[in-house]
Amino acid sequence: MSKIGVFVCHCGENISATVDCAKVAETASKYDGVAFSVDYKYMCSDPGQSLIKSAIAEKGLTGVVVAACSPRMHEPTFRKACAEAGLNPYMCEMANLREHCSWVHEKGEATTEKATDLVRILVEKVKYNQSLNEIRVPVTKTALVIGGGIAGIQASLDIANTGHKVILIEKDPSIGGHMSQLSETFPTLDCSQCILTPRMVEVAQHPNITLYTYAELESLEGFIGNFKAKIRRKSKSLDEKLCTGCGLCTTKCPTKKIPSEFNEGLGNRPAIYVPFPQAVPNKPVIDRIHCTYYTKGKCRICEKVCPTQAIRFDQEDQIVEVEVGALVIATGFNIKQTDFFPEYGYGKYPDVITGLQFERLASASGPTLGEIRRPSDGKIPEKIVFLACAGSRDPAKGIPYCSKICCMYIAKHAMLYQHKVHSGKSYVFYMDIRAGGKMYEEFVRRAIEDDGVNYIRGRVSKIYEKNGKLIVNGADTLLGAMPIEIEADMVVLATAGIANDGAEELAQKLHISYDPYRFFAEAHPKLKPVETNTAGIFLAGACQAPRDIPESVSMASGAAVKVACLFSQDELTREPIIAVVNRQAPPAYSSCVGCFLCVSACPYQAIEKEEIRNRNGELIKSIAKVNPGLCQGCGTCVAFCRTKSIDIQGYTHEQMYTEVLALLNEY
């Protein structure tokens, strides 16, 4: 016979203002199997918890129903209290009288009646509760970081410095990401490469970091603490051990006119190339799409000139399998290209460029060695126009969000231009200046006041070319929408920051969610900004939303701490709310008939086949078996099972049925 305790909480006035708590407790005391029933002002307080503990001890309770707030709020609190009093924590259930009743209804008898019903169904359920134990799983103390931009670099270094192993994979031939392309950085104008390259080298030399460049995630299986990742190391057509990075091959390669990704198409590179001089690793790869040998079957000049015979034309992609306990996703972002803008010429004017292209023009390592020269004819532009919000904050373009970094980098661009071209005139068309950040607003004011950049509040409707000039038609909304026409030599579009190519596919491989803009979704926008909804997978940098460098770095360090916390334990405990396939005495063994519909239904690949054999090793029956480490307790298999052979622990068929009957007053 059950001995159940019912504890009705007033939650200050949150519940008691509309529900007659004393009456609920009194009614509950009359139910079969209820040995104790009481109401109290704050059940979650120390005295409230003591009330539960002493009732368990004194009355020998076998089950507890706390009628209070949402279980998401205080279920752990009350289960812990029960455990401390010697009752299995899973014998404690919560009836949600606050969110499900008092907050959403007026004061009245019907409200109290509903509260009574909510208590009733839990009392009947708890009679069927069984003691459950937490699941323990081991932790592999190696992290996989995907993406070698500043976020991935920071996360890798931080994790590695806590003494744990890190595997960093980067899809490009070098780490460094977008930050390596930047000229100077706001708000201090220090050189991007100067502050980044030491960290890149540190990554390459760190004893705890294994770096795979030109590599992508092929697949991921497993769960927190116990992931198995397959990494595709794309063939570099090179024996990296032999290559000394002398660079002779890159100078002799006859295919030289391939638009350089690093220079955003403003310069060329050969088919065998190192993306930029400070690349890490500083060893070339062969771009097989453009290489003459791979396209036409002839050439092999690089092989002939290589002093160490390091070229390997027949090298194949290699799949590396690694076991890791946690992942940090730092795959970054991309920007919209100029051809996204019909009103600005669909990308057909060479002197209408993106912000990232301007970075390359302004960079000392760029195609113009840091001189601002326009792409079409190499002239120094006398008039330059910057357009903020090109695509961003424009629902008609499908990008309603603010790309966040543009206001600052445009101020920086205009400033750099004024520093380099003293006679030049620069204009910035903007909607609002969003310069929230330490020393950010001051930086923008400096551009306007000290460097004389003309800020015009208004949008540009159209850009067209006439007599070698770019005619920029806009409006100054601070002068009553006065039409403005500027004959510019060059235009820079601060195009929207968008999710990287392949973000959806990666999210699907990782089983993490993404938002409507394909940025990866954090578990909670405020309190879990670096976690994903999948335990053990964390986010860093602009793969989650457009982010500047300081934010990406902070986020990366945050993610690294989350990984370090995880790795500080040898075992993880998990809630036992998982699916189980029932087992019975022979000769049935289980009501499972082995149809394995559940195997295909399970989104976590947590169900496998189990073969039941007799002593002679002969197969008697194949049935489904749930791997408790992988199961997330979603319940999909339960719905699929035709013989009702699977139950979620704590939410069994029997318990659910009982709840429904209790609600229908069948008891």
Binding site: P342, Y346, K462, Y464, E465, K466, I471
Partner: protein, 280 residues
């Protein structure tokens, strides 16, 4: 099949040469055209500034009449009428209550079954597929195709061509032997209804259009809208005042240019009715 025809006010008045050329081209290809009986004003700019229901009821009546007449498809050469009719069909399709109100006001059934073609869509559907060998006098000129505002906007409703850089007229003109130029004023405002109230503004706005066409070597401007035509053609004096020079580039309806390429008599295309002499 018979193609319904909604001329609207312009095609019966100031731009009757547009109607003449549309009908002449249709006749040359044996496209049977039937005018909607008892048609009324589309409401133009005035109605939708004053009263939403009225602005929908007027075009809805036209579409009801077309349905009553058994027409499945109608051509609306005037870009403004085309816009009003298409917007009405769109609005009524997504709002059953509004549709009921309009039906009651008109006292005519309306199902929304009539499909509406602008002149480019009509030509692309019935004329250009059969053009092979029919171009006897290629329109061998550099032309600036001018779309104006209403032919391609709003894109969400019309779903026709690219709104910022339309191409349909250029492609069509290419088939007549013309060389369409790449220019910057394809969809800029001509001044529209300010023609009467602020002619000088039209001189400025249309002037910039004509100037860019001239600067880029156009020998003719091709249009598909009576309003655009009257501003670019009839207001040429105001334009020339703005430009400070006499520019005599003629403005042709696309059906006139096509008609010339087909060898149709100039008079039947109404070319003599223009203010700026058509020399091409």
């Amino acid at each position: 099949m018979t193609l319904g025809f909604y001329p609207g006010c312009s095609l019966k008045g100031s731009s009757r040469e547009y109607a003449e050329s549309v009908l002449a081209v249709a006749k040359a290809f044996d496209v049977e055209i039937e005018e909607i009986t008892d048609w009324n004003c589309c409401g133009a700019t005035a109605a939708h500034n004053l009263n939403k229901e009225l602005s929908l009821a007027l075009p809805a009546r036209i579409l009801s009449l077309a349905e009553k007449q058994g027409l499945k498809e109608i051509v609306v050469p005037c870009a403004a009428c085309y816009s009003r009719l298409t917007v009405t069909k769109h609005e009524l399709s997504k709002d059953p209550l509004l549709k009921a109100t309009v039906i009651e006001a008109n006292g005519l059934d309306y199902s929304g079954s009539v499909s509406i073609l602008n002149i480019i869509q009509m030509l692309d559907k019935y004329i250009t597929p059969n053009l092979g060998g029919r171009v006897v006098k290629p329109f061998d000129h550099k032309v600036a195709c001018y779309y104006g505002c209403l032919l391609v906007r709003p894109h969400e409703i019309l779903k026709f061509d690219r709104e910022e850089d339309p191409q349909s007229m250029d492609i069509l003109m290419l088939k007549t032997g013309a060389t369409p130029i790449d220019w910057a004023y394809k969809t800029e405002c001509c001044g529209a209804g300010l023609s009467v109230s602020r002619t000088s503004s039209v001189g400025r706005l249309s002037g910039k259009i004509i100037e860019d066409a001239k600067d880029r070597g156009a020998e003719a401007v091709i249009v598909a809208c009576p309003m655009c035509h009257s501003n670019l053609d009839m207001r040429r004096d105001a334009i020339n005042t703005f430009l400070g020079e006499k520019v005599d580039i003629p403005v042709l309806y696309i059906t006139q240019a096509l008609g010339l390429a087909l060898g149709i008599d100039r008079k039947k295309l109404g070319l003599q009715r223009h203010f700026v002499k058509v020399t091409v």
